[in-house]
């Protein structure tokens, strides 16, 4: 255990030295942006911690502990409920294209949901707003039905394109909800104003609703109108949680370590600022690092 943190301490010192060396390169070799030194060091630290955690996870046989996230437990229940009621599941992977990390995360989570619907033999409906997302979601869903040994249940049109336009898409999804009455609605991806249009309609048809998004502005709507919400970072952790693969879970552990480091840094910066303000030192951490 201690060993791990020793590695990190040495690693961070190494990264700092490396960054310093890069920014001290002579003019002729100057390919490094010194003004971004702090960012560079931080990025390298994140990469180092992540890769090392993954390596540890691969070599160790122990399970990594993660706290429960109620919204993720509820996904399986929702699929089960839909099966009992004989009604479909609606999955909305957000309204943006694959050039948003949230959308990609939403599509990855779709893979896990498709695994469940294949197991439970529940109908899955995925209307999408972008054709690239459609293609990716199809690949993911197909793969899920294959691994579950139910290729005959997979139908390409379970993932279907509606339109690129935000509100036209919202109007159509509202229509689908009203007419097909899904037992569960899952919203996982990047959302804008249409979030509440979905969530209110879903609520009025009595569906169990689980949302996950990294769109800060839309979290409050999902929190008020949905049964469960994966807020921000929880949503990004969702795919790792659902996959139960140690390599992916290790990524979450890495995030936790970075979080603690950041909190430590905030404390340190406050103290160093106090010293500076009181005239005890003539520098403060923030200006020193040129942040």
């Amino acid at each position: 255990m201690n060993n791990k943190y020793q590695v990190y301490a040495v690693g961070i010192v190494g990264i700092l030295l490396f960054t310093l060396a890069l920014s001290a390169l002579p003019e002729s070799l100057n390919f490094f942006r010194e003004e971004k030194s702090a960012m560079f060091a931080f990025t390298l630290t994140v990469i180092m911690i992540m890769l090392y955690e993954v390596r540890l996870a691969k070599s160790s046989s122990e399970d990594i502990f993660l706290r429960t996230i109620p919204g993720l437990k509820a996904v399986e229940e929702a699929v089960g409920r839909s099966t009992e009621m004989g009604r479909p599941i609606l999955y909305v992977p957000g309204i943006m294209d694959m050039n948003e990390v949230e959308t990609v995360a939403g599509v990855v989570v779709l893979g896990h949901v498709a695994n469940m619907t294949a197991q439970y033999e529940t109908e899955l409906d995925v209307p999408v707003a972008r054709a690239i997302v459609m293609q990716s979601a199809r690949q993911v869903a197909k793969e899920a039905y294959m691994t579950q040994g139910r290729p005959e249940m997979y139908n390409e049109d379970m993932v279907h394109y509606v339109t690129d336009d935000q509100f036209a898409y919202a109007a159509a999804v509202n229509g689908i909800m009203q007419r097909d009455e899904p037992a569960a609605c899952l919203y996982m991806g990047k959302f804008f104003a249409e979030s509440l249009l979905f969530a209110e309609t879903g609520n009025s048809i009595g569906a169990i609703q689980i949302a996950g998004t990294g769109s800060q502005t839309q979290i409050p709507f999902f929190v008020t109108a949905c049964d469960y919400t994966l807020m921000g970072e929880e949503f990004f952790a969702a795919s790792a949680y659902l996959s139960k693969e140690p390599e992916l879970i290790a990524g979450i552990t890495a995030q936790d370590i970075i979080k603690v480091l950041l909190i430590g840094f905030i404390m340190l910066a406050i103290v160093s600022r106090a010293f500076f303000d009181l005239g005890l030192t003539d520098f403060n951490l923030i200006t020193l690092l040129n942040l």
């Binding site: 007419r179 249409e194 390599e247």
Partner: protein
């Protein structure tokens, strides 16, 4: 195998690493690529994908119509609307200039030239510019079909926020109560009506609500009544000594209070969410670049 699996994975790793490192490397070629071309490439691919999507949409709607599934009539409307807009977008210029005036068709423009007896020639708009020219047929479609529909879908939210807050803003527990109270204070404090509500009224309401809480908690009516009467007396006494100013004490004046909520506890909460989202996105992005997660490719 190579084409289906390895090249896509290589593309992710290469372009991911390239665009990420572009932030730190002082090299003009890499910089222009990351700043400009990289996103342009994506926009172009996405533009092709739109046509793929349209094909999928048409296919599903045509199946509905041909099989006469339930409500196929509406699918027919969707198909008709699609071709209506498609023809206006691709086959009709829809804008012919005579001087500064714009006409939808060549014929109308020519008639106008004759009617005005002017020497101007009719000048058709360039292909491509026709979708952005004020007064073109495409713009007419945008103004009277597309934009009212989107604005109205958006405006439905005014009703939905009301019903959602009515249903969900119940003081079930402390968390829900905080949501409720912060929501109401912002809702009232930000609009002119809020500044007409005296801080003294708010103090009375708080004293009363606390009494309500005391009653619920201790199950002792007398104690609750005592609290309410005592605090009301205190507030009234204070009011007379201070002369009932509407915005004093400021912490009970809604416009001032909402400002504090907005700048302090709200900021703390949103900052944490921002940092969390940031970390989540960074870690997820790195997982993609390093190929730890490839399932979006169907792996």
């Amino acid at each position: 195998m190579l084409l289906k699996r390895y090249i896509p994975v290589a593309i992710v790793a290469f372009f991911g690493a390239l665009t990420l490192s572009a932030w730190f490397i002082d090299n003009e070629t890499i910089e222009t690529f990351a700043n400009d071309d990289a996103t342009q490439f994506f926009d172009i691919i996405a533009a092709f994908a739109v046509f793929l999507g349209a094909l999928n949409l048409l296919k599903l709607q045509f199946i509905k119509v041909l099989k006469q599934q339930s409500e196929w009539q509406y699918s027919a409307i969707a198909i008709a609307s699609f071709f209506f807009a498609f023809i206006i977008g691709f086959f009709i210029r829809g804008a012919f200039f005579v001087g500064e005036d714009v006409y939808f068709s060549q014929q109308a423009a020519e008639e106008a030239v004759v009617a005005m007896n002017s020497s101007d020639t009719v000048r058709p708009v360039d292909w491509g510019a026709h979708v952005q020219t004020d007064g073109s047929l495409f713009q007419w479609m945008f103004k009277y079909i597309f934009s009212p529909l989107s604005a109205t879908m958006f405006a439905l939210l005014a009703f939905f926020v009301a019903s959602a807050s009515f249903r969900a803003f119940r003081a079930r527990n402390l968390e829900a109560s905080l949501l409720l109270i912060a929501g109401i204070i912002i809702m009232l404090g930000r609009v002119p009506v809020g500044s007409l509500i005296s801080s003294w009224l708010i103090m009375y309401i708080i004293a009363f609500s606390v009494g309500f809480g005391v009653n619920a908690y201790t199950r002792n009516r007398n104690m609750a009544l005592g609290w309410v009467l005592g605090s009301f007396g205190l507030i009234t006494g204070l009011g007379f000594t201070m002369g009932w100013p509407i915005d004093q004490p400021a912490i009970f004046y809604l416009p001032a209070l909402q400002e504090w909520i907005y700048l302090v506890p709200n900021l703390a909460g949103s900052r944490a969410i921002l940092i969390g989202i940031g970390l989540g996105i960074v870690a997820t992005s790195l997982r993609y670049i390093f190929g730890l997660e490839k399932s979006y490719l169907g792996e």
